[in-house]
């Protein structure tokens, strides 16, 4: 039988893992209990989600333009 109370380090690891794959039932329960009583980890969980959402749209966020010098150089290469 695994211990019921997990540490903040374990809880934050579970939060991160949960974004990628489903947790086992017992891990879900232990994480839920931890987040119910630990404000710091609950904050981490919320902010972790904000970061993931932002990262998913990072490509479209502030599109970088290729510098003119590089453009000219590559174009020249392509015409060789």
């Amino acid at each position: 039988m695994k211990k019921v109370m997990i540490s903040c380090e374990e809880a934050t690891a579970m939060v991160v893992k949960k974004h990628s794959e489903p947790l086992t039932f017992s891990d879900r329960l232990r994480l839920w209990m931890h987040l119910a009583i630990c404000k710091l980890c609950a904050l981490f969980a919320k902010q972790s989600q904000i970061i993931d959402d932002a990262a998913a749209s990072l490509d479209e966020s502030i599109p970088a333009k290729m510098p003119e010098s590089a453009r000219a150089r590559i174009l020249q290469e392509l015409q060789k």
């Binding site: 903040c8 934050t12 991160v16 981490f44 993931d52 990072l58 599109p63 290729m66």
Partner: protein, 191 residues
């Protein structure tokens, strides 16, 4: 086989249309503008050599991105190989936010942010800081984070591509997230 002038013309036209798209894709994933430029150049040179393989079944931009993506993965793989196994194993113990019992250390407590979501007016600023914070991660953490969150790759695929174990991967992603969160909180004035 030498490329015909027709092919050269087509590829140059594609370059005019998609250079920024590819450059943006590369710079977001490779934290080095010179290397990003080189990768775009190599992509178009591959495209020129292999134009006959492009069947037009996908959009040209999709085809070009696929070539670029393969080149980026090659670089990732090389960088991860350079990172020794022992360094991977000790990564869990560096920059520790937790005490020996696994509680948050004083001074690394997460603080409340202003809002639960990013406001429209704060978006650009937030993204800039997120990019800055990403560039401060250890290369290998950044790679794992980018593959997961920007490219939406499966855990199994990332581990296979980077030749790391699943437990190494979870440690990388966990530490990356802790550091990103901390960096955003310290640098984002609007939180």
């Amino acid at each position: 086989m030498t490329e015909t002038n027709d092919t050269k013309k087509i590829i140059s036209d594609l370059f005019h249309q998609h250079a920024d798209l590819l450059y943006n894709y590369a710079i977001t994933r490779i934290n080095d503008s010179q290397q990003a430029e080189d990768l775009v150049q190599e992509t178009f040179i591959s495209a020129l050599k292999n134009y006959e393989n492009f069947k037009g079944e996908s959009k040209a931009s999709t085809w070009l991105i696929a070539i670029l993506k393969n080149k980026i993965i090659d670089i990732y793989r090389k960088k991860v190989r350079e990172f020794k196994q022992e360094s991977l194993d000790t990564l869990a113990f560096t920059d520790n936010y937790f005490d020996e019992k696994g509680h948050w250390k004083k001074g690394s407590y997460p603080g409340p942010w202003k809002s639960d979501a990013i406001d429209e007016q704060d978006r650009d600023e937030f993204y800039k800081i997120l990019q800055k914070c990403l560039s401060r991660l250890k290369e290998i953490q950044r790679i794992a984070f980018v593959m997961k969150h920007l490219d939406d790759a499966e855990t199994e695929e990332i581990c296979k591509e980077l030749e790391i174990t699943a437990s190494n991967y979870w440690v990388l992603i966990h530490r990356a997230k802790l550091q990103l969160r901390d960096c955003l909180e310290k640098n984002w004035i609007n939180v």
